[in-house]
């Protein structure tokens, strides 16, 4: 029995959609200064879907972009990749641009949520490093759907004041000497991959023995002080010295050191780390397509990146001119540009809905045993 074709179902879906939109709406608006006599003016509103505090909502960016094109930029925030997809599914024609992770881009393309991008309309497209520009995963049927913006790693950070000798192995997470010092990222997907990497699995996104991974998670839990769910939460735990060790993102670690001056050092352990790429995409039936193209072009410009990285702290860039503008010893150039480091990275992969359901159940079961 198929429900889909009944018209009453579509009404139900509409109602559900309205509910979802009214929940958790957090928009931020910056009035663009009107600059008359400038040919570049596009006008109107640009609706951006992104994580909060992730570069695109920095006030300098909203000001600069607003002045250049006379566009008012409005943000709507997400707390998970799934939420981003859900917002696109339930409100088509509302958003212009969004920032899906490369591992989630194929799902969005497959469900028809995105528009193909004409790369000839992006001045900075050719500035992208070829290893990002030529990625298979940003394409479908020969058309580009995502523009790689930043990339980074999910790995470990430690407090340099507590561990002056440094740490280079993930085994500390299972070492009783470090019990109660650890804040772990509450994500079933990344936990699955990281624990797999720690166990020496070269392909942690296709685990062969789920029970062994689960057992390793069980051994991890007594070591963990708490699980964190947002960047801000981790920063607070670290600043309060509640913890001295944990799983964190490279860009966030750089922000914590730059903005808050925390003694936080990010390491890619010898076992490896998760690496991810975030890409800008244009939503299907975007109301302000022209502004969307200009926005993506501005976001990948080195002018924006350098200000973001020096004033706030950012993950690694994807364009040559941004790398050239970084100091030679900068983490995002020295470490993230080191072929030795890159060879240790495990690139995040698209996980099927069935696998995600199963991984989530394993992680919930491990947590339920606490």
């Amino acid at each position: 029995m198929k429900f889909q074709k009944l018209s009453f179902t579509s009404i139900l879906i509409l109602m559900a959609a309205m509910l979802l939109i009214s929940c958790g709406k957090a928009t931020q608006t910056i009035e663009a200064s009107i600059n008359q006599g400038n040919d570049n003016q596009i006008g109107g509103v640009l609706r951006v879907l992104n994580w909060q505090g992730y570069g695109s909502d920095e006030s300098f960016a909203l000001d600069e972009f607003g002045k250049m094109y006379g566009v008012k930029v409005e943000h709507d925030y997400i707390t998970s990749e799934e939420e981003m997809l859900t917002k696109l599914r339930t409100s088509p024609g509302v958003y212009d641009v969004l920032l899906p992770n490369l591992a989630y881009l194929p799902i969005a393309v497959q469900e028809g949520l995105l528009e193909p991008i004409d790369t000839s309309m992006l001045e900075n497209w050719n500035d992208l490093l070829s290893r990002f520009k030529d990625l298979d995963d940003i394409r479908s049927n020969g058309q580009v759907y995502g523009v790689p913006w930043t990339w980074g790693a999910t790995a470990m950070v430690y407090n340099t004041e507590v561990y002056p000798d440094g740490i280079d192995s993930m085994q500390v997470f299972w070492d009783p000497n470090y019990a109660g010092q650890i804040a772990w990222w509450d994500s079933y997907e990344d936990t699955m991959a990281l624990v797999g990497i720690a166990m020496g699995d070269p392909d942690p996104y296709h685990p062969k023995d789920l029970n062994a991974v689960k057992q390793k998670m069980m051994e991890l839990m007594p070591q963990v002080k708490t699980l964190w769910a947002s960047e801000d939460e981790f920063d607070k735990l670290f600043a309060n010295k509640d913890i001295s060790l944990g799983v964190f993102w490279s860009g966030s670690a750089s922000r914590a050191a730059t903005v808050m001056g925390l003694p936080m050092k990010f390491v890619i352990p010898k076992e490896g780390a998760i690496a991810w790429i975030d890409t800008w995409a244009i939503a299907k039936d975007a109301p302000n397509r022209e502004a969307a193209y200009r926005w993506i072009d501005y976001m990948i410009s080195s002018g924006f990146y350098i200000r973001w990285d020096t004033e706030v702290g950012a993950p690694a860039p994807t364009t040559q001119s941004s790398i050239d503008a970084l100091p030679a010893d900068a983490f995002n150039r020295a470490v993230m540009g080191d072929p030795q480091v890159i060879s240790r990275l495990v690139w995040m992969q698209t996980v099927s809905a069935e696998d995600r359901q199963q991984w989530n159940q394993i992680w919930e079961e491990v947590k339920a045993a606490q």
């Binding site: 029995m1 109602m15 799934e82 079933y188 699980l227 309060n240 995600r356 359901q357």
Partner: protein
């Protein structure tokens, strides 16, 4: 003519509230009930069919039941502690305090309701964490405490929940105690009942409707709570409410989330019915068949 007008007035008066209930409560609830019997969330280009597998999933995984009992137990603890604190408080405000003190204390009870849940919970985090306000206070009165370690544990969840739901309990009990007819107490006194007897056999039974309302307003939301466990419970903060949240936010599996939520609702209804029957019996025996 006047009959029609009277009915029309009644209809117009009730129209806003009932249409609100219909659109904001009943219809979304029905949508979710339909979803809970579907194979997939029917949005985007997905083929869906009717199935019972979401309900089967709940019963086939043991830890779902472990988390459900944990949530039920949490609701029992929270409700009980709330009742223990709220009854004397409501009694004092309603029956033992002069007018202006009443207003001031009443304000103190209501103020937490005005503040945002997140603000309230983060304040608790500051109070409860190691080296936090509570630890400092206990140390300064000379208690030999090394590490309090309350934050990111189960007791922290209970503290956060009790604080959040206490006002509802105080308010509902206060309302019935405030309206308690003094002549009934005087009658009991004139028939020779001492203060304890008057309290136990007149005040308490007559305040039961308020107590029950408070228990319901606390128990049901606490059973499905997820923000307090997530923010204060750390790794001990996984409950059935956070599982439901995961299904909606992390996995886009609305059908499974909805199925678990409806099973929870069913359990609540069963428990409330049982409680209702029990209270009715209690009432009948304590004040000689007023039922």
């Amino acid at each position: 003519m006047s009959f029609i007008r009277k009915n029309l007035t009644r209809f117009l008066l009730l129209l806003p509230s009932y249409s609100w209930l219909l659109f904001a409560v009943l219809i979304p609830l029905l949508i979710m009930l339909v979803f809970s019997f579907l194979s997939d969330t029917p949005l985007g280009s997905r083929d869906v069919y009717a199935t019972l597998k979401n309900y089967q999933t709940y019963f086939s995984l043991g830890f779902y039941w472990v988390l459900t009992s944990k949530s039920i137990l949490t609701a029992v603890y929270t409700t009980f502690i709330c009742l223990l604190i709220a009854y004397p408080m409501a009694y004092a405000i309603a029956r033992r305090l002069p007018g202006r003190w009443k207003a001031a204390l009443f304000m103190l009870v209501i103020v937490p309701l005005w503040s945002n849940t997140l603000v309230r919970l983060y304040s608790w985090a500051i109070v409860l964490r190691d080296g936090g306000v509570l630890e400092y206070a206990l140390k300064s009165i000379g208690l030999p405490i090394q590490n309090l370690s309350i934050l990111y544990s189960y007791p922290a969840v209970i503290i956060g929940l009790v604080h959040g739901y206490l006002p509802y309990m105080v308010l509902t009990i206060y309302v019935v105690l405030d309206r308690l007819d003094d002549s009934l107490l005087e009658a009991a006194a004139s028939l020779g009942a001492n203060p304890w007897q008057r309290f136990l056999r007149v005040t308490v039974p007559l305040s039961l409707p308020g107590v029950i309302a408070g228990v319901i307003m606390t128990f049901i939301p606490v059973m499905g709570s997820f923000i307090e466990p997530r923010l204060l419970g750390g790794k001990e903060g996984t409950m059935i409410g956070t599982v439901i949240e995961d299904q909606f936010v992390q996995l886009f599996n609305w059908p499974l989330g909805a199925a678990i939520a409806f099973l929870l609702l069913l359990m609540v209804l069963v428990m409330l019915t049982a409680m209702g029957l029990f209270v009715r019996r209690l009432n009948r025996t304590s004040i000689g068949g007023t039922e």
